[in-house]
């Protein structure tokens, strides 16, 4: 019987294509309650469950089940956009005063895991803390996303179940950022530090025990504000560092769900081949490989040299060599069909490094010659990169690419402890790098990575005209016009080789076939709530 079902599943895969299958089982089947879900985890979460204090999926993934947002991207819809945002702690919301005020009407009767009532004070407390308002009663130890809220003038809690965000100028994207897994509401009565060792949230699961290096156990929150959820009795997140071990455990059925982004194409195909009852869903990560070029110092203050570097790197070759085909080329926003804002293929082909490899390399040599570099006077650069495999593989690909246009690059490996201080202080020439972006949204990306003065703008690319364009698209209320503006900005950024994009990583999510309703989105940071997940066993 089981064999017949798995055969049927294989046939189904062949007919419908891998991605389509994910949604099919959800239809027409009554969800079952109960069961434990075993979830893959990369490492002990840094900073515990304090999502506001990190930028890593290692914290967001196990932190999301116990916390809640005001709004969130519908967990069952594959592609996140403004249209898939649904209420969570906010029952309804409305834009007022031409997108200057955002009013949230909160659910009533919601309780924190410790029994305290949830009110608008908690919301004001959380986001005043994140945006570092003068009147904020608490402070985050580190605060990576302060800039998301730079346009918030003040937050008002006029009554226990109403919150108003007053903005300095219209900004439709604020809702996108609030819907990200990065934007949970903390309890005002719990010190921030406690979230680093425990978790008092309003989410579908309560933290039961965190045994460092071994597991994180959650139990069902029977008081959860969505009636009838969650379906599962509990979950166990198991941190395993070694990749071979963790996927072997998955294959053996000891883990039901893979950790978002840890699966490469090769490993995912290997696992599904060995165990056909594990299903593969291809989605996106919202994580890109890129090349940092320090624009404040020669030679990369010269746009010609930057563009030459960009031209030298064969994007499609990178997808093959670095990801065994498990990637996709695109500019600074997630490429289609996964992303919403990506450039069209015909536009991409015009950009440096996206065309025919040999032609682009010839152009690169010409540009280098114009800048005064050639066989007699080769450009020598020192690249830096983090001493972790995903960065090193990328670097190992780039060095011989540059060699082909006569650029001699050496590599210095930087330990994690030194990486961010180094790039923040501009003490580097060039560096292969990875960038992850929370929601698939222009504001979240541009203001963080390209805006003058942003702490995560490691290249220090700062262009007044581009800045103006970024502000304009942010205020644009017509989605079509905005899309056009955003595409123009992306072209401009690649032509300037501000931070040449190399490729976007695809997600090869693995789940056992009895896992239902866990739908990967185009960003790994936003679909870990788990309240809809159930087991068909």
């Amino acid at each position: 019987m089981a064999r017949f079902r798995s055969l049927a599943l294989v046939a189904g895969l062949a007919l419908l294509g891998v991605a389509a299958v994910t949604l099919v089982p959800a239809i027409g089947q009554a969800p079952k309650y109960g069961g434990m879900l075993n979830v893959m985890q990369r490492e002990d979460p840094p900073q515990g469950f304090s999502i506001h204090e990190t930028s890593t999926i290692s914290t967001v993934w196990p932190g999301m089940p116990c916390l809640s947002n005001l709004v969130i991207f519908d967990p069952l819809k594959k592609q996140e956009s403004m249209d898939t945002i649904i209420g969570e702690l906010a029952e309804k919301w409305s834009w007022q005063d031409n997108y200057r005020n955002l009013v949230f009407f909160l659910r009533k009767g919601v309780k924190w895991h410790d029994g305290q009532p949830f009110t608008s004070k908690d919301v004001k407390y959380t986001f005043d803390m994140v945006r570092e308002a003068k009147e904020a009663p608490a402070k985050l130890r580190i605060n990576p996303r302060k800039d998301w809220y730079s346009n918030v003038d003040n937050i008002e809690a006029p009554e226990p179940h109403t919150v108003v965000f007053h903005l300095k100028r219209p900004q439709p994207s604020l809702l996108m950022m609030l819907a990200s897994g990065y934007s949970p509401v903390y309890a005002a009565h719990v010190p921030v530090a406690n979230y680093r060792t425990g978790c008092i949230g309003t989410g579908p699961f309560k933290l039961k025990e965190w045994k460092r290096g071994e597991y994180i156990d959650f139990v069902k929150n029977t008081d959860y504000f969505v009636k009838g959820r969650p379906y599962l009795d509990g979950m166990r997140y198991v941190p395993i560092k070694d990749r071979a071990t963790k996927f072997a455990a998955m294959q053996a059925g000891r883990l039901d769900v893979s950790f978002p982004g840890d699966e490469s194409r090769t490993i995912a195909e290997q696992v599904t081949k060995a165990e056909p009852r594990i299903k593969l869903t291809i989605a996106a990560q919202n994580v890109n490989d890129n090349m940092l070029l320090n624009v404040t110092k020669p030679p990369f203050d010269n746009v010609k040299v930057r563009r030459a570097i960009s031209l030298a790197i064969d994007r499609r070759g990178a997808v093959q060599a670095v990801h065994q085909g498990g990637g996709i080329v695109g500019a600074s926003l997630a490429p289609r069909p996964h992303g919403v804002w990506g450039l069209l293929e015909k536009d991409l082909a015009q950009l440096p490094g996206y065309g025919k490899a040999q032609e682009d390399k010839a152009k690169a040599k010409k540009l280098l010659a114009e800048a005064g570099f050639g066989p007699s006077n080769p450009l020598r650069i020192e690249m830096v990169t983090r001493a972790i495999p995903i960065y090193l593989d990328l670097s190992s690909f780039i060095i011989p690419e540059l060699k082909q246009v006569g650029v001699e690059a050496t590599l210095r490996q930087i330990e994690t402890a030194q990486w961010h201080p180094l790039v923040t202080r501009r003490e580097y020439q060039a560096g292969p790098n990875l960038t992850g972006i929370g929601p698939d949204d222009p504001d979240a990306n541009f203001y963080e990575n390209y805006a003058c003065g942003s702490p995560r703008n490691y290249t220090y690319y700062c262009d007044e005209q581009v800045m103006k364009l970024i502000d304009q698209q942010s205020q644009e209320l017509d989605p079509k016009k905005r899309l056009q503006m955003v595409m123009n900005i992306q072209k401009k950024l690649e032509e300037d080789a501000a931070r040449p994009m190399i490729d976007w990583r695809l997600l090869y999510n693995l789940q056992w076939n009895y896992v239902r309703n866990l739908v990967p989105h185009q960003s790994i940071y936003n679909w870990g709530r788990m309240q809809e997940v159930w087991l068909d066993k």
């Binding site: 840094p46 130890r141 580190i142 071990t245 402890a417 990486w419 961010h420 201080p421 923040t424």
Partner: protein, 330 residues
């Protein structure tokens, strides 16, 4: 000399010797504490940099305030004195990474590593000493050659690679999957043993090779000594001579190696614990170093140091017991 071994003056000397060794052990630990403390702080970057790296940015002013919060903005010597004072009062400080008392982090790791180390050592001795003895007695026979190649092969393979190959074979060809999380012996003894025996084999095989070599060469050396030849000449049978005289005297260097191996085992377990996903001290130590989690690293290192010093002392005591030519005192 042999007759004087168990006489009262010798025992008194031994007692003074042990007392002195213990006093000196304390000094050694002090020296070690300075070295590890200084080395850790020489390494560029601290916990706060790592925290910021999980956030993907750095803010100088916030960095200062967090350093103040953790107490690592103070002069280094004050931090050092504070640390010593804390150790003496049994307080091991707080893990920067986990915001928990360091002891709470370290305690559950110890049994795993100790069990693994002891198992590996037992496997090494069980495998190494007999192989070495047979190899020495049957010197230059085919058996000797075969045993030496076997043991040298063990010495030549990186134990982490051996672990990888074991897993590769088990997973790829036999479909066996190593347990994912640590299973305590009370939970399921069988799984527990399997979980520990495989890494212990990978590590122990390697250590056994060293023991085989040393046993063989020490035994060969002792077997040339006059008193062994005399014993042989007196007509005692070969194996009795080896057992009663030769092996006992050959144990001296063997024990040194076991002592050294045990100490080094703990450091050498790092990769094996990672490959087999065992929540032990060694794996944790590397992570703590990478996180610059000073209190955890310092105290773990001191703990390992104590184990090493005690095992060295023990080895030196065995020297005297096994080889009457060695005198204590001076």
């Amino acid at each position: 000399m042999r007759s004087s071994r168990r006489s009262p003056p010798k025992e008194a000397a031994t007692r003074t010797y042990v007392a002195r060794r213990l006093a000196i052990a304390a000094l050694t630990l002090l020296g070690m504490s300075v070295i590890i403390f200084v080395l850790l702080r020489l390494a560029p970057g601290n916990m706060v940099d790592i925290l910021f790296s999980t956030g993907g940015y750095v803010s100088e002013s916030d960095k200062q305030s967090i350093m103040k919060e953790l107490g690592i903005d103070r002069p280094v010597w004050i931090q050092y004195v504070d640390w010593l004072r804390e150790i003496l009062t049994g307080n091991l400080g707080k893990s920067y990474r986990y915001d928990l008392p360091a002891w709470e982090i370290i305690k559950p790791l110890l049994p795993v590593t100790i069990e693994l180390a002891i198992l590996s050592t037992i496997i090494a001795v069980l495998l190494g000493v007999p192989t070495g003895v047979i190899s020495a007695v049957r010197q230059d026979t085919t058996l000797d050659y075969a045993l030496r190649v076997f043991s040298l092969a063990g010495l030549s393979m990186p134990s982490f690679w051996l672990g990888m190959v074991i897993i590769l074979v088990l997973v790829g060809w036999l479909g066996w999957i190593p347990p994912m999380t640590y299973v305590s012996p009370t939970e399921n003894l069988k799984i527990h043993l399997v979980q520990f025996l495989l890494p212990a084999l990978a590590v122990g095989y390697r250590s056994s090779a060293l023991i085989t070599r040393i046993t063989r060469s020490a035994l060969l050396e002792v077997m040339r000594e006059d008193y062994i030849r005399t014993a042989w000449a007196k007509g005692q049978s070969g194996w009795i001579v080896i057992w009663r005289h030769a092996l006992k005297n050959a144990m001296l260097p063997v024990i040194t190696v076991i002592g050294i191996e045990f100490a080094f085992l703990i450091g050498g377990l790092v990769v094996t614990e990672t490959v087999f996903n065992l929540p032990g001290v060694a794996r944790f130590l590397v992570e703590a170093v990478l996180w610059r989690d000073y209190p955890v690293v310092q105290n773990l290192v001191m703990f390992i140091a104590i184990v090493v010093i005690l095992s060295n002392l023990f080895v030196d005591m065995l020297y005297g017991w096994l080889d009457p030519r060695v005198r204590y005192g001076d």
